[in-house]
């Protein structure tokens, strides 16, 4: 099987029948899952006596407009980064639920540093990004070390660390320390970040402003893909997740992999709060939600740890949440969206498994048929 030019090779590889078949199977799986979720939504709406046409109208009015899309894209940037952070860990069967605590510590530290300094933008912003990633990564390192050296499940340790982070932040956020209570506001926040610490937005005429960080997020996504698919480290990551013994025997140090992966996941989690911090709120306060870990994990599952999938998943999630308010206006409680989201994940997870089994069986058949059919192959009979 000789390869011609790299482009030919690329096309052959990406668009090979096997690959296309696999992609279409997965697309079908997602489509079916969405169908399932829409059915669930439909049932709930029916229970409320809401007509589907009313829903479509309202959704179109509120979500599928210019400003609607801008809001969706902005929110999805945050979710995309959370999804990537989760995906990094997932490739090695590590569940970084600590994204919550890590991202909040990261964005808090960035807000404090940003609010305290007044450097020129070219220094201020990279510094804030760096601080966020370092702090979040360092916090993840705790769980990483416990997992690598003491075998403590990262699921339990990161959840404990999340709760601890909440306590630490509320301690640090009081007015006596890093918090600031502005007149007229009852919420304590960090100091306002000066102009130089605000990332310019991309203005879309007639629609609104897209966070500048979205561009950076795309770059991060590309970097993620390059590292996981095209680098040696990425291969070791895949190998350790797929066959830990094989990876061990081929020279990969499993402890090192766990440490690097969880710390990287944490560092990535650190960026999750930055689109909002640098783009709109410019200070850390209660507007930064907890619960993003679950969103990130869901999206990573739906997107199969692939940056394009995660991006699409993030957009879907943001779109669904955008629909929450108009639904509320129709008398359907907006919490129904979380039910829809949960249905999507549930359905996707089941569908992907089905797809996996179908394609495995198909491949086995193909391979067995290719070998000389007269002679039974060597598997222990």
């Amino acid at each position: 099987m000789s390869e011609g030019s790299p482009v030919e090779g690329f096309i052959k590889r990406v668009l090979s029948p096997a690959r296309l078949g696999s992609m279409s199977l997965h697309a079908a799986a997602v489509a079916l899952s969405l169908l399932f979720a829409v059915t669930v939504l439909g049932l709930i709406l029916a229970a409320y006596g809401t007509r589907p046409s009313a829903v479509i109208d309202v959704v179109g009015e509120y979500a599928l407009t210019g400003p609607g899309w801008v809001a969706i894209v902005n929110k999805s940037t945050t979710y995309f980064l959370a999804g990537l952070a989760a995906a990094v860990g997932f490739r090695m069967y590590l569940f970084n639920i600590g994204i919550d605590g890590q991202y909040r510590l990261g964005v808090f530290a960035a807000a404090v540093v940003g609010g305290a300094l007044g450097l020129p933008m070219l220094l201020q912003i990279p510094l804030m990004i760096l601080v966020a990633c370092l702090v979040a990564g360092a916090y993840a390192a705790i769980a990483a070390y416990l997992r690598a050296e003491r075998g403590v499940s990262e699921v339990i340790s990161t959840i404990m660390l999340n709760a601890i982070a909440t306590g630490v932040i509320s301690y640090l956020l009081s007015p006596k320390r890093f918090g600031v209570l502005e007149d007229g506001s009852s919420n304590v926040q960090t100091a306002l970040i000066p102009e130089s610490g605000r990332l310019p937005a991309i203005s879309i005429p007639g629609a609104g402003e897209v966070y500048g960080f979205t561009v950076i997020a795309v770059i991060i996504g590309i970097l993620y893909w390059l590292v996981t698919e095209r680098s040696r480290f990425g291969f070791e990551l895949t190998a350790t997740g797929s066959a830990p013994r094989a990876a061990l025997l081929s020279g990969t140090n499993p402890r090192r992999m766990v440490m690097i992966t969880l710390i990287a996941s944490g560092a990535l989690a650190g960026t999750v709060g930055l689109p909002e911090l640098l783009g709109s709120t410019h200070r850390y306060g209660i507007s930064f939600p907890s619960g993003l870990a679950w969103v990130g994990l869901s999206i990573a599952i739906v997107g199969r740890n692939h940056p394009v999938g995660v991006a699409l998943g993030a957009l879907l999630w943001a779109f669904l949440e955008r629909c929450a308010l108009p639904l509320d206006l129709l008398g359907v409680p907006k919490e129904v969206i979380s039910v829809v989201q949960a249905s999507v994940v549930l359905a996707v997870v089941a569908m992907y498994e089905l797809v996996h089994q179908i394609s495995e069986r198909r491949e086995r058949r193909r391979a067995a048929a290719f070998a000389r059919p007269a002679a039974p192959q060597g598997s222990p009979a």
Binding site: E3, R13, A243, L249, S250, G251, E363, P376, S379, A381
Partner: protein
């Protein structure tokens, strides 16, 4: 097509009769119109090469799988099984080659599982005293010594097998199926087992036993059914056949000419292991092990599994840390080098568990090309991978090693065991290593592929690679090795030159203090 030469004498009662059994899996015909008649109270052996269909047939008899066509009769009555419980109810008991025992439970718990004697008074609770009594009774009656309250994890292989036998006897099995029962035993334990089997028959039990150790089979059976490629070749009586004839029937032709080695001559030492001592968490260890592998030499490591062979391989690779000793490759001390570095310096490994250690099952086949070879400069440009290069290399391996796949993009899990093994061997040899550690290189691989792999190993040795083969297959070691080292209890207890090595000598060395 059945070709019964002689029907076993004396008993008129048939314990088990399988007629016209056919079973196919995708792409494989496991059993084709198989007919076997087993007389009650006899030992009936089923022999055949890997892939002949023996295990499938036994699985059908045990109820673990259903045939596509064909019928079964037990004690003259037709039966169909939808699960092992049905077979157990009818009195069929199976002892698997890979024991099905729960390590962290006691012998008693393992034996009674699914057939627990209950206390009539307190609801749902097990009558353990009664169970222990019954087990002891069976143990005494059939001379299978076990302590019902011992934990399985503390027992050795021989004891575990006795537990498996008691398990089936506890359920009142009348027909015992033993799948390769002597595979993991020492020569001494194996002969004990064989005499126990005769004892079981004297008590009226029927034993079906699968093996490819023809000498044992001839020694203990009343009748032998030979299978090849899913079909019954013949059913014979041991008294009327020679081992050589049996072998021919099994393989279908004169056993292929084994690759002859150009033996003799001194070879410069390539890999030196000096006084290696190491312990693994699970307890396995090597203890003061010395061995040298010369350039172009094939050294076989024989021994009962579990006597330090795994630890030896891991120590050489650097996965297991040494407590003491030195590993020297071409004069360079590797003792404190990391695994990745050792691979880069020219050590290659064919791991013993191909599915878990040799390939990435759920990834495309070509990705497994990089396992253990990330250091190859052809595959990388700095921290980045050169995908096209890797794919070319994988394609080359597939072509050279006769791996039968439609494309290298198919996932490794789709390949048969033999093809997976051929790929792994091809990958390692393509890198032209200085030293190759081959652990069970042809386990579970059909005869044709086995010969191919052996030939390639010999060719590599001719080119100067030093090869260490760890194998449970004595025939393999004896065909290929220049020297055979026997391991027991983590040490090398004997080294034989090819000319002096005999099965008897090696077998007795293996039992010296073996675990």
């Amino acid at each position: 097509m059945s070709d019964a030469l002689t029907v076993p004498v004396s008993s008129t009662a048939t314990a088990v009769e399988l007629t016209g059994i056919t079973k196919t899996y995708p792409g494989v015909i496991a059993n084709a119109d198989v007919t076997v008649r087993v007389a009650a109270g006899t030992v009936h052996a089923i022999v055949g090469e890997n892939g002949a269909g023996k295990s499938t047939l036994m699985k059908i008899l045990y109820g673990a799988t259903r045939p596509d066509h064909g019928t079964m009769q037990v004690d003259g009555r037709p039966v169909t099984f939808s699960s092992p419980s049905d077979a157990i109810d009818v009195g069929i008991g199976m002892v698997f080659q890979h024991f099905k025992l729960a390590e962290n439970l006691s012998v008693l718990d393992n034996v009674i599982l699914g057939a627990e004697p209950m206390r009539r008074s307190r609801f749902g609770s097990i009558d353990r005293d009664l169970a222990a009594e019954r087990i002891t009774r069976i143990s005494v009656q059939y001379r299978l010594a076990v302590d019902p309250h011992a934990m399985i994890r503390d027992l050795g292989v021989g004891a575990r097998q006795r537990v498996e036998l008691i398990k089936v006897l506890f359920r009142g099995a009348k027909v015992l199926i033993l799948d390769e029962p002597t595979a993991l035993l020492t020569v001494h334990e194996a002969s004990d087992l064989l005499s126990q089997i005769r004892g079981l028959c004297q008590d009226g039990l029927t034993v079906l036993f699968i093996s490819h150790h023809l000498d044992e089979v001839l020694g203990v059976s009343d009748a032998i059914t030979v299978m090849r490629r899913g079909e019954v070749v013949a059913t014979v009586v041991p008294a009327e056949i020679e081992q050589q004839e049996l072998a021919v029937m099994m393989v279908g032709a004169e056993p292929a000419e084994l690759p002859r080695r150009a033996l003799g001559g001194t070879r410069p030492p390539l890999l030196e292991l000096r006084g290696l001592s190491a312990t693994r968490d699970g307890g396995g260890r090597i203890d003061g092990l010395d061995l040298t592998v010369g350039a172009g030499e094939i050294v076989g490591i024989a021994g009962v599994e579990g006597n330090g062979q795994d630890e030896l391989v891991e120590a050489i690779l650097g996965v297991l840390d040494l407590d003491q000793g030195q590993i020297v490759l071409e004069g360079e001390d590797l003792t404190n080098t990391a695994t990745a570095e050792r691979l880069r310096m020219g050590i290659g490994c064919i791991p013993q568990d191909r599915q878990r250690e040799g390939v990435l099952l759920d990834q495309p086949l070509w990705m497994s090309q990089m396992l253990g070879h990330l250091h190859d400069p052809n595959f990388r440009r700095g921290p980045w991978l050169r995908m096209a290069s890797v794919r070319r290399a994988a394609a080359a391996v597939v072509a050279d090693a006769d791996v039968r796949v439609p494309s290298i993009d198919i996932s490794a899990a789709a390949l048969s065991g033999g093809n997976q093994q051929k790929f792994i061997v091809g990958r390692e040899l393509a890198a032209d290593p200085k030293v190759l550690i081959a652990a069970q290189p042809t386990r579970g691989v059909d005869v044709g592929a086995q010969r191919q792999i052996w030939t390639r190993l010999v060719e590599a040795a001719e080119r100067g690679t030093g090869i260490m083969i760890v194998s449970a297959d004595l025939e393999e070691l004896m065909s290929l090795s220049d020297r055979i080292a026997v391991m027991a209890r983590g040490q090398i207890v004997a080294i034989y030159d090819a000319t002096d090595a005999t099965v008897a000598a090696i077998g007795s060395s293996m039992t010296v203090g073996a675990t």
